[in-house]
């Protein structure tokens, strides 16, 4: 923590000299870094290294106390557990919400496994895979001391159906439990207790049973999302719930002012004996929001805050200072689970021809695209296929188009493909890219330059990024605008092939608006592989199907993957129990963090 020397006289004198100092700004440059002052604040002991919290727990501790200080440049979408969809919100939500099951609180890929949270054990699943039964632990309480019941769990899940009032969150549970949309949500529920959803039964206060119309191997992953958090009916303030969610976790939300910040303190009715997941080490947790991301990075490096709430990576301006030898021990470089890529809609000419698509895939300069994303550290590894390493069935070594052999692209082979597709002299096309994503614009420019080498004249169209679902998410508009290449990125909502790939390549997920299957892939073989994987009895069996699915997607050459994304994230020297978790896109597992050594 930075301390500031006091003394009004000094400050008064300081005020007077500021103007003079500002005049000499041109001579200030980056400042003299010969002093090791900030190194004293931030450098860790000799054992701590760059990436020290990736794959292992750093500074393990059980000491309680202190204030854990988050800072972020992006606000929560919602604190309402049924409405939140941002990845960092899901990580943060474990402070004030508990679910039946939750990601395992361990580093790395193992964190994608589930462990019981409010439930005594993982689900008892029926032989046909359609019934999931849980029993709640004793002693799980709300912040006012009343017990959390199975009916609270059911009511919380029912809130997902009230999309006309509570929009924003994931609707997987709605799609799986009520695919025909018969239930209208608790606010229109005519049942006296407002618990009319037939697919969930609560025979007593401790038991909850889910009845699925058809099996889904990832159902528990959906129950691990914050959207499956219990909400108590008498505390449901509907759309205002986001401003003051009622806690059943180790902390309660004392205040939340959107766009400004939040303050959390201990929930006295949370019983550690019922919770094997959350360490609950800090006494208080604060969130400060800013619009100046560069200054945020500087304040993190100066030790004024502990963690970047959003964890979207240290910005370009502060990167050099963060990676300075005296600071780099405080930097981690985890995989985020996102893939950055270009996709070619098969209903836009000439990309209806697979050889035209292959010309783009092999002709692109993969190294240049990686550099445009920020390089190997800030951008990530060159991606050679469309499954992230944390997903079952992924094979990072699978490189069907030999990107690693030809990192700068294979111009000769690309020209062969152009001949095969009947365009030996190349063709014209349009690259669509979101205007509010500078790195995506940079990759579009990089791709434009490499395609020019093989004779493809690609114009870049920067569209309003806030209107994605209505612009590139509307296939008719994509055809109308002749978008031959779309720049995008994707991360899984839950760490399976269903969670990552199904919206992208299952033909049954093609929508008129809000579509994510931009390539318009509708291959019955791929669709069947999803069905087989979802009906699989074991994760290993499902992984086999997802591996085949990934190979078929690569064969179709509709995707040009850029990077398996990595971020550089700052870790303050105060942090204890710190590790990155694949379950939260490489962020630190917030529920485990402490600040007292």
């Amino acid at each position: 923590m930075t301390t500031h020397r006091s003394g009004r006289r000094r400050k008064a004198a300081a005020s007077a000299v500021i103007v003079a100092a500002l005049l000499s700004t041109a001579a200030c440059g980056g400042g003299d870094d010969s002093s090791d002052d900030s190194g004293k604040k931030n450098s860790a002991n000799g054992k701590i290294e760059f990436n020290g919290a990736v794959g292992k727990v750093l500074n393990a501790s059980t000491k309680k106390g202190g204030e854990l200080k988050f800072i972020g440049s992006q606000d929560f979408d919602f604190l309402d557990p049924q409405r939140g969809y941002y990845g960092f919100m899901w990580d943060f939500a474990r402070y004030y919400t508990r679910q039946l099951v939750t990601p395992k609180p361990v580093p790395g890929k193992e964190s994608t496994e589930l462990v019981p949270d409010m439930a005594t054990a993982r689900a008892e699943v029926s032989a046909d895979g359609k019934t999931y039964k849980y029993t709640l632990k004793d002693g799980v309480k709300w912040e006012d001391g009343k017990p959390v019941t199975s009916k609270d769990v059911k009511y919380g899940i029912e809130r997902i159906w009230a999309q006309d009032v509570l929009s924003g969150g994931p609707v997987y549970l709605m799609q799986v439990l009520d695919p025909d949309g018969k239930y209208k949500g608790p606010y229109k529920d005519t049942a006296p207790d407002k618990l009319g959803l037939k697919a969930i039964e609560t025979p007593d206060d401790k038991t909850i049973i889910f009845k699925l119309p058809k099996p889904n191997a990832d159902f528990e992953q959906m129950l691990a999302m914050p959207s499956a958090t219990p909400v108590r009916q008498d505390k449901d303030t509907k759309e205002k719930y986001t401003l003051k969610p009622f806690s059943n976790g180790p902390y309660k939300v004392d205040s939340y002012t959107p766009t400004k910040g939040a303050q959390l303190s201990r929930n006295p009715n949370w019983d550690a004996a019922t919770d094997d997941v959350r360490k609950a080490l800090p006494d208080t947790i604060s969130v400060t929001l800013t619009t100046n991301a560069d200054d945020m990075d500087k304040r993190l490096i100066a030790g004024e805050y502990d963690v970047d709430l959003n964890a979207t990576g240290i910005g370009q301006a502060a990167r050099a200072e963060a990676l300075n030898p005296k600071n780099r021990a405080n930097v981690d470089n985890p995989q985020t689970g996102f893939i950055r890529y270009a996709v070619m809609p098969t209903d836009v000419k000439p990309f209806d021809n697979i050889d035209c698509r292959k010309a783009v895939v092999v002709g692109a300069d993969h190294k240049s695209l990686q550099t445009a994303r920020g390089g190997p550290q800030a951008g990530g590894d060159i991606a050679t296929n469309m499954l992230p390493p944390a997903i079952g069935g992924a094979d990072p070594a699978y490189d069907p188009y030999e990107f690693n052999k030809n990192p700068n692209g294979d111009v000769a082979k690309a020209k062969e493909y152009l001949k095969s597709c009947g365009k030996p002299n190349g063709f014209k096309t349009t690259i669509a890219v979101r205007n509010n994503k500078p790195l995506e614009v940079a990759t579009a420019e990089s791709l434009q330059a490499s395609l020019k080498k093989i004779g493809i004249d690609a114009q870049i169209d920067q569209y309003d990024g806030a209107q994605t679902s209505g612009i590139i998410g509307a296939p008719a508009n994509v055809r109308k605008k002749n978008y031959g290449i779309i720049i995008m990125g994707w991360g899984a909502d839950f760490p399976t092939g269903q969670g990552f790939s199904q919206p992208l390549v299952d033909g049954r997920f093609i929508l008129d608006s809000g579509n994510n299957n931009f390539s318009m892939t509708d291959d019955p073989a791929i669709n069947k592989l999803f069905d087989d994987a979802i009906a699989a009895k074991t994760p290993e069996e499902a992984s086999g199907f997802y591996k085949q699915m990934n190979e078929k997607v690569s064969d179709s050459a509709v995707y040009l993957p850029f990077t398996q994304e990595k971020n550089l994230i700052w870790r303050s020297s105060r942090l204890t129990n710190v590790y990155t978790a694949d379950s939260y896109n490489g962020r630190y597992d917030y529920a485990s963090l402490g600040v007292v050594k």
Binding site: H4, A21, Q163, G169, P170, T257, P258, S469, G473
Partner: protein
């Protein structure tokens, strides 16, 4: 004077109505004309049709545009209700709209931020008026000397260097390196010294830019005024130089300065976006920039209207002050 005041107030109201109409049109009519649906911006990654319809209902997007405008204006005067899915949210007057991103009425959000922006604008204004006018007068009186050239050189630097540069340099030196200032805003009711400490850097940075402009304006105007016949007459009558400058020359010099001050202060109250962003001051400017990034249209409309109102009112005050500082101006 009273009749003039009434006329001007009527003009202010009319002007604000026009601004409201234009602002509303830009944010709600144009999207409709180009075929985009603002509701799709508020429904998240999985755009459920019921969610889109809920937002459309709540925003009243299905109503004719004139009805939407009438409801908006009526809301400012008497408040309004937003209904969706059978649930009604009341927005008390003055209701400048409802933010679907934050689930809050716009006015309380902006009201919470106004003290920050007012603190920034008022403090910086005092500094730049003191610094700018003094520098300009001294330069004019020492025309052609080293003092004049140095002062105008400084002023040129002030005008040329953008706030996002001087602000970052000020933070780098005085906050991060020397640690003299905390550079974190503290409400004045929590701690007066904390408030001062948190605002010194933003004040000085902002004032540096404006003082430079005011110094150049003051110098030019003062030089022009000093050449006027009545100044020569005052000197010929044997008045002391401080009286000639302070009483006679300054009054005329202040007229254009007041005019530009009205515009500048009004715009600043609407939000000093760069300064607030650089120093992370949670004022109206930062609300505006965040809302633009998140396409939170109701907040953008609210900030725009407050900015317009500030400029119009500040100009009204300036017009009234003309009579005070310059007896030649008669208002009625």
């Amino acid at each position: 004077m009273l009749a003039y005041l009434i006329r001007r107030l009527f003009a202010v109201v009319l002007m604000l109505m026009v601004v409201t109409l234009v602002t509303f049109g830009i944010f709600f009519l144009i999207p409709k004309m180009v075929g985009t649906d603002p509701a799709t911006m508020y429904v998240g990654k999985q755009a459920d049709p019921a969610a889109i319809e809920g937002i459309r209902q709540k925003m009243g997007l299905d109503d004719p545009i004139l009805v939407q405008f009438w409801e908006f204006v009526r809301g400012i005067v008497v408040g309004r209700d937003y209904t969706s899915g059978g649930e009604t949210t009341h927005c008390a007057a003055p209701c400048f709209g409802y933010s679907f991103r934050t689930e809050q009425a716009v006015w309380p959000i902006l009201l919470d931020r106004i003290p920050v922006t007012l603190s920034l604008a008022a403090g910086a204004c005092v500094l730049w008026l003191l610094g700018g006018i003094t520098t300009g007068v001294v330069s004019a009186l020492r025309r052609g000397t080293v003092v004049d050239r140095s002062a105008m050189g400084v002023a040129l630097a002030g005008v040329s260097l953008p706030i996002y540069f001087t602000g970052v340099v000020a933070l780098a030196i005085f906050h991060y390196k020397l640690e003299w200032f905390d550079a974190t805003y503290v409400p004045i009711e929590d701690s007066f010294t904390g408030w001062l400490e948190g605002l010194v850097l933003p004040w000085v940075t902002l004032a540096f830019l404006y003082a430079a402009m005011y110094a150049r304006l003051t110098r030019a105007t003062m030089l022009e005024v000093l050449g006027e016949d009545y100044i020569r007459t005052a000197r010929a009558k044997g008045l002391k130089e401080p009286v000639v400058i302070g009483k006679h020359a300054m009054r005329s010099t202040m007229t254009p300065i007041l005019t530009i001050l009205g515009m500048d202060l009004g715009a600043l109250i609407g939000g000093a976006i760069l300064t607030e962003t650089t120093f992370n001051l949670q004022g109206l400017g930062q609300a505006a920039i965040r809302s633009i990034g998140e396409r939170d249209l109701p907040i953008i409309v609210g900030v725009t209207l407050i900015t317009a109102a500030s400029v119009v009112v500040a100009n009204l005050i300036v017009d009234l002050m003309y009579a005070v500082i310059d007896p030649r101006v008669r208002l009625a």
